[in-house]
């Protein structure tokens, strides 16, 4: 999570001065590891095999702030009564909580597409998985470089 590698050189006095100034920060969350991501995914989809494809993930390759990262997901599938996308679930593999949100498409949805804004605690992969009406699960993964993560920017009192 440390973008600022020179923090090691920062003197103890400096750190104490920082505390003295009452700089209030974050309860630094623990980032997820591969096991917890795998767990979050299997909690959602069980052990159904997943295939790559059908999903277009639109994300900025470089996000200057992890607090508001625009995301658009489009699944290449008809949206008829018999053949359709049931849901799309989004994960971020190094966020303290990898599960970002689950979107369900109802019978009145015209396309399997949505946009929203998400938080990224730092540089990591965003994974989207789509469950289709035939039970198959499709996935796509995109790396986003985050210069100032949602958890480690200059969080002062103001």
């Amino acid at each position: 999570m440390m973008e600022y590698d020179n923090s090691a050189n920062w003197s103890r006095r400096g750190v104490l001065a920082g505390i003295g100034a009452g700089v209030m920060l974050l309860a630094m969350p623990v980032r997820a590891d591969d096991a917890s991501v795998a767990q979050a995914i299997s909690d959602t989809f069980g052990d159904t095999p997943r295939q790559d494809g059908k999903i277009a993930l639109k994300l900025p390759p470089l996000a200057e702030t992890g607090n508001t990262v625009p995301l658009t997901v489009t699944v290449d599938s008809p949206m008829s009564d018999t053949e359709r996308v049931k849901r799309v679930v989004v994960f971020a593999n190094r966020n303290p909580r990898p599960l970002i949100a689950a979107m369900m498409f109802g019978p009145k949805a015209a396309t399997a597409e949505f946009s929203t804004n998400m938080r990224l605690s730092g540089t990591q992969d965003v994974i989207a998985m789509a469950e289709l009406s035939d039970g198959t699960i499709w996935q796509a993964q995109v790396r986003v470089l985050v210069t100032v993560g949602a958890c480690d920017s200059l969080q002062l009192r103001y």
């Binding site: 599960l99 015209a110 949505f114 929203t116 804004n117 938080r119």
Partner: protein, 106 residues
């Protein structure tokens, strides 16, 4: 009641894919921020969003703290018949916020 904004076009042709947009004013506290006393502010989020129309669901979301403050969604509705497009947000404290807009289908 939290402030919301929704966008539904006034009119559409039957069969059209119509873009719908919705946003609600909410901090989506993720539990990782500290207050000025150094105590963690507890998780406080919108947990559910849904949009329905013509007797069926269009799009719904189970939100997690990984979504940004003032959660925003856009998606596409299949225009079938004139009627209200209904929106509903549920806060984890149980508060329900609703909004509605009329869609004329020609």
């Amino acid at each position: 009641m939290p402030n919301t904004r929704i966008r539904v076009p006034k009119t559409a042709k039957a069969g059209d894919a119509v873009e719908i947009r919705a946003i609600i004013q909410h901090p989506m506290e993720n539990g990782f921020r500290l207050d000025s006393q150094g105590t963690a502010i507890p998780v406080e989020i919108i947990t559910d969003f849904s949009c329905s129309y013509d007797g069926g669901q269009v799009f719904s979301v189970k939100l997690e703290p990984g979504l940004s403050a003032n959660p925003y969604f856009s998606f596409f509705l299949k225009a079938t018949t004139s009627g209200p497009v209904d929106f509903r947000w549920v806060d984890q404290d149980g508060t329900i916020t609703t909004a509605t807009e009329q869609l004329e289908v020609t």
